[in-house]
Structures are given as structure tokens and as C-alpha cells.
Symmetry: C2
Subunit: 254 residues, 2 copies
Amino acid sequence: MPEIEFTGTGAAAQVPVWGCRCTICLRAASIASYRRRPAGLAITGEQGVTLIDAGSHHLAERYSPEQLQRVVLTHFHMDHVQALFQLRWAGGRHKIPLFRPDDPVGCDDLYKHPGIFSLQKPFQPFQQVEWPGLRLTALPLQHSRVTLGYLLQTPGTVLAYLCDTAGLPRETERFLAESPIDYLVLDCSEPPTRRPPSNHNDLNRALAIVRRLRPEQTLLTHIGHHFDNWLLEHTRQLPADVSIARDGMRIPCP
Amino acid sequence: MPEIEFTGTGAAAQVPVWGCRCTICLRAASIASYRRRPAGLAITGEQGVTLIDAGSHHLAERYSPEQLQRVVLTHFHMDHVQALFQLRWAGGRHKIPLFRPDDPVGCDDLYKHPGIFSLQKPFQPFQQVEWPGLRLTALPLQHSRVTLGYLLQTPGTVLAYLCDTAGLPRETERFLAESPIDYLVLDCSEPPTRRPPSNHNDLNRALAIVRRLRPEQTLLTHIGHHFDNWLLEHTRQLPADVSIARDGMRIPCP
């Protein structure tokens, strides 16, 4: 059965934040299962693995080049791309298709030296591709760079991955309103705040999206240590159908 | 007593190279002490640590922000810079000075978002700075980007760190010829080859530099897996005063 795994659930600073001595960061530094690597997904099907983003450095140890069918980037911020700067130098003739949003700059010299990765034509808004066992639709998001979310459909499961984003563009929201969603995986970097961050969701904004899209279940991701600290005392305030993603968490996709 | 430690001794691909099944890479994948992270040094004195380059991701676990006195970059290729993209988001008011060559571009958005790092005025060729217990001289190298080597002088030890480079510019060689060198730490990415690489030394070119500069001892670094494989059978062909650096190796600096 295909399954979707969180390769990471952290914001750019990760958890623990370097040098931070808050309760959350000290806990994550001593207990690996509380750690949050940069946010991303791995979708494992019969024919191999599709990575959504590649910001986590453990990917080199976790997967072989032959296991990776493709990498799909949401955007070119370093915390979503950085592992590729090591992976690209793999030897052999095997090439891994790299799908991406339409960002003319990319990340540092990745376009110039993609190495093992074969750059695919950029996705256009709402473009759909169909691979064996997986249909993917590119969904424009609202972020400081050209950023795409993805609607991921396996034969029995619909998952919307919306990270990184501050709210949602109207067209994306309209598109999603017409699709029943089993799992909404949503950017929620910060606890509820009066001044929500300009490039991400705080919990208020995330819950407003949940109320509008009405998915079966929501998993919040791209979590910063401030939000993790807030959750220590307020987890019960989350709606019953909203939970917090963890690194390594798996979603079965019948 | 101050000491200098190799935080990494590998080429950009590191050892093991992702997915490679050569003898060297399989060994490094199973025995951590054979691993080669991206090349760099840590100079530990009474007042703290000076990093030369920050390409190795274990730096976040190895040092606290308070331990780091400064970071000195040789150049802005990703394998020498990449750990800064995590470290920069440390909290607190503590700032870490970041010294660098005169490269107008830098690496991705590091100049725009340096975070905890305070960008220092770029080094000019042969510029000298003196910190308590450590004098540093910037030495132009020959590489595909503006790149500096550094002559590092503690009260009792002179170490020249020349990585990444293909041969040496004449002025740098002239400067070094006038300085007795205890330790030459030199780029040697490849085994002896008829067509030496355009941006690095192969062993022939490295040994020619050793013969001209005549340091007390030489340690080769920035080592790729092809060179490591060659060494499996040819280590005895190295001159007695030339050896191969290893990650974690320490040089006492009286």
C-alpha cells in the first residue's frame, strides 16, 4: 500500500534552533524523536519514492539514487532545497527528474550544476501530471517566492500539501473547495498572534483555512519552536480533526 | 594549548558519495571515522573557536553560538558555506563576525539574510588581521570563484591552509616562499592524472607545490573518493613528510 511520510516538519530554523535553550529545543536536542527537520514529504509507491522538497540532510542516508523516482520542489528557499547540493554529485548515469515551480532564479548554482537531477519544465498553475499510482496538481500559494502547493491523489486518498504559504490565493481556494480532501497538510509556523507572519500562517490563519476547506483531517507542519512551546500548554485547544505533524509520521494511502 | 582540528576533509561530493558502491564509499558508509565531510578547520584557542569554512552540517551540534568567535570563509561555493543556512537563524542578540573574500555575489541569499552573522568588510589580497593568539593573512588562490587561502600563525605554529585551488598564483607562492611553514594543508582532490582538474589539484600538482614551498609537514585535504581509492594501493608512494588528513584530526599549536 502506498504511504506518505513526513521527512521533516520544521520551519527554516528547524527544532532545535541552533543554540536555543527553550524547553522545546532542549528536549529536541536530547530526544531525537522531538526533532523537526526542514519540512517535506516522501511518497512511497510500488515503483519508488517521490520526494516533495529536499531540505533535510538525512535524505542521503535514507534513500538510494535508484529508490528516488523524482523530486518535486514547492519553491527554492534553501530549507526546501539544500540536500540537493550534496545529492547532485552522485555518480553513475541514473538521472532523477526534478520538478519545480516557474522560478527563473532557482537556488544558488543548482540550475547551472544540477548533476544527477534532470530539470523538468516548470509547472504552470493548476497543471496536472499523472504518474502510475499518483496524480499531482500544482496549486499556487502565497509566499515571498514563487511557491506551489500540491494536490496529491493516490487511488484511494486525496492529500493537499500547502506549505509554505500565508493564507491562500483565491483561485487555489476555489479549486480546493471543489475537491473533497482526506488530509490537509498545512503551513502553521507560529502560535496564534495579533500580527500574523507575512510569509506563513499562524494558528488563527491556519484554522480559518481549515474551516473553509473542511478536510477530513488536518496535519499542521512547518512548525517553529515558538509554536511548539505554545502547544505544550494549549494542545487541547486544537479542534479534534486538527493535529500536529511529527518527523517520520506516516499516512497510509489505500 | 591552542589546536587546529579538521572539521572536514572531503571534496564537494563528500565521502561516501551518495549512492556510490566503491570500496571507499561502502567503507565510509559503515564506519563513521572514514567519512569525509566538506573541508574546513576549527581553530580552538583560549577565547573560543575560529571556523575556517562552514560546509559541514555537524557544526550545529558540535559548537554553541557562544563558542564561535568568528567564521572565516575561503569562498562561496556551497560545500564551504552550507551549514550557515541553518546556523544563521539562531536566536538571541549574540552576533558572530563573518569574514570573507571579496565576492560580490556570495551564496544564494546569505548576504540578504545573514541572521546571527555580521558580515565583515571583505578581505583584500594579503590583508593581515591579528586576533588574540591568532594572526591571519589572506592569500589569493586559483579557483572558479574568488577564493582565499589563509596563513594562520599562532605564537608557536605557522599553518598555511590552501583549499580550494588549482596550483598557486605567483604572488601567493612568492609570499609563502618567504615564510617558514610548519604545516601546509593543501587541496588534493584527485589522484595523479594526465589531465589535472581545472579547479583543484591532483597529486602531481600538489606534490610540485610541496617541493617548491618545502613545509615541515604537509597534510592533503579536499579529498575525493577516486583519490581515496587510489591511496588504498599507493599510500607508500607519498613522500615521508606528506600525509592524508582525516576528519577530526587535530594539530597541536604550541
